[in-house]
């Protein structure tokens, strides 16, 4: 599978020579990450408030709701946005079926991207992507959206609006806490795609003026379900 490239050993040979090694030397432990410096949030913080404040400060619209309000709130938002044609990926929610039914009852069509081959292609024509999240970070107000059998890479990326549903218990203090869940010695493979999302798509390329929605969603609505 090397297309005219170098052989691995030749390539590594140059690296070793530059390092003055005759063979690859396995180092002792890499530098320890001093949490006193790096950690910017802990379990002692009011994580829900911190998450909501920071998510708002990076430009997401945040609402704190209860589980009972969830279905009505999401449908009301979709109606307000005049959504006609949406993609969803929220099967981790207890209310998944109820939400699906309520959306369809409001005459909004859910595109079944799970069926058929051109899954990404259809998403370009949709109005909104509604998703759950795999985790959230209080430190930066970030959503973490990973890919798996029920989550397309496109849901939080391709439609012009992203609505995310976050359970309060999913909020981790710091990025370190999220990455620690991946330190698993059992060697469980990481998802092929993990996105840490902090705000709507942004650019300031033209004369430094901030414009949202350049490639990804221009609007992100986050519903934090406090009693989940």
């Amino acid at each position: 599978m090397t297309e005219h490239g170098e052989q691995r050993e030749v390539f590594l040979g140059r690296v070793r020579a530059a390092l003055g090694h005759t063979q690859t030397i396995v180092p002792d432990e890499p530098p320890a990450v001093d949490e006193a410096l790096v950690r910017l949030a802990t379990h002692d913080d009011d994580l829900i408030t911190m998450f909501c404040d920071r998510a708002a400060s990076v430009g997401m619209h945040v609402d704190r709701i209860t589980a009972d309000e969830l279905v009505d709130q999401i449908v009301a938002k979709l109606v307000e946005l005049d959504a006609k044609w949406i993609v969803v990926g929220f099967d981790s929610l207890d209310q998944a079926d109820a939400l699906n039914n309520a959306i369809e009852a409001a005459d909004i069509q859910i595109v079944n991207w799970l069926a058929g081959g051109a899954t990404m292609d259809v998403q370009f024509d949709t109005d909104v992507g509604v998703t759950d999240v795999h985790a959230a970070l209080a430190e930066t107000g970030s959503l973490i959206c990973n890919v798996d059998a029920k989550h397309s890479r496109g849901l939080s990326l391709i439609p012009p609006v992203h609505i995310a549903i976050v359970g309060a218990r999913q909020i981790l203090p710091d990025m370190l806490d999220y990455f620690a869940t991946q330190h698993d010695a059992t060697g469980i493979a990481l998802p092929s795609s993990q996105a840490i999302i902090s705000g709507p798509s942004k650019t300031a390329d033209i004369e430094g003026q901030l414009v949202t929605g350049v490639h990804g969603p221009g609007k992100v609505f986050v519903y934090v379900v406090e009693d989940v």
Binding site: E3, T24, L40, L157, G216
Partner: protein
Amino acid sequence: MSASTTSLTLKGHDILFPPLPYDMHARADLATGDDQLQRFINNATLSKDLQRREVCAQTFGDNYDAMRSLAAEIKQHTLDHLDHYLEQFVDAATGTGAHVHFAATAQQANEICVGIAKREKLTQCVKSKSMVTEEMRLVPALVKVGVEVVETDLGEFIIQIDDDAPSHIVAPMIHKDRTAVARAFERELGSPYTENPQELTQIARNHLREKYRTADLGICGANFLVARTGSAVICTNEGNGRLCTSVPRVQVAIVGIEKLVPDMNHLAVLLKLLARSSLGQPITVYNHIMTGPKRKHELDGPEQMHIILVDNGRTEILREETREMLRCIRCGACLNACPVYRKLGGHAYGAVYSGPIGALITPMFKGLDKYPDLPHASSLCGACYEACPVKINIPKYLIQLRAQMVRRRITKWPDRLFYGLWGMSLRHPATYRFGGWVQKQMFRAKARAAGTAGRGDRYTDRGWLSKAPGPLAGWTRARDLPTPPSNSFRYWWKMRS
């Protein structure tokens, strides 16, 4: 035409690949004479530099310095053991189903990428910003074999359709204004003329969405590679990095070998510093961590993921004496902090990398004799070192390069003679005093001759030189030099007691 003036007629990416040896004076003159350029770059870099300082102080407080030391230590450790971490990365990435390729040179990297495009019969490419692909001049290589390549970072896209070249590693079109964008969009995309950034962005969005949709090849760089997990990480505010790596059937990540970090917790340290240093933003909007191609049970994502590891001169810099330079995470903070970059902009550096880090690594990559001006394109004020999240001591290395130039006789003989004499005179108080006296008399005589003596100031004997002799001539091209006052510092010092 001299080499320096030919460089002014270059267009597009050729601006970054001028005839060598490169003489930066013509472009520096052009830049300092361009008021608009000055205003734009100065304002943009000043405000980013200020935001960086505010946000870092606010977030890390007294720990800011220690945080930078930790980031420096992580990168240095990885470079010190790059053989190990590369092997670990290659094994892990291969285990996730990615194909890892090895390119000794830019040309090899292009060949590998073109080879993939040909074998897979790929014709439409969306590309996100990547400095190493600029080094390689990848886009023309792909176009030559019939692949349509679209740059998707808004700034890079504008530069591509306006046949210009990027001038900042983070904000590539920092030197262009909205009217240039408006004209380019009207001309190249047939859109109605507008200067509104919101509307211009919308035009680009609509155009580029169709490109994503039909692309079969996505090319990206990576901000980081994680050795233990075999992951590539790409950070973009716009989301183009995610789209380029999610929609097309084949993904190619082209990455310099210095991008490795050992593990995810080290990645966290660098992610926490990257956007804060770069834009004064707590975190980049999209951090996309990619570990292999689409898995069997997943419904979308690239079917193939290729990672091309690029050397292209990096193993030269990896030698112990210069290894530190490879810690760079390309945040651009040193450009924003640099008083020289702020006045000249990126194109004056005549290379892919500009600003302080460019002044340092361009001569390392391309040869000191090819870029003899760059080690001097710094006031050695140390602002770059202070801004750098991985504490690269840029001023120290620039001085080393200057010393090397003298040793290798790249510096011209009149300069060597002048500074040689100067150096000698500084070594002894008597010669120092004598030198100072000669200089004072000479400057005053010149000022008197020019009729500027005694102008303004409370030192009635003080004048101005608008044209200094010898090696100082360059200095007075853009400003006047005050003649020395009657009372020297030494005189004051003596009188004080």
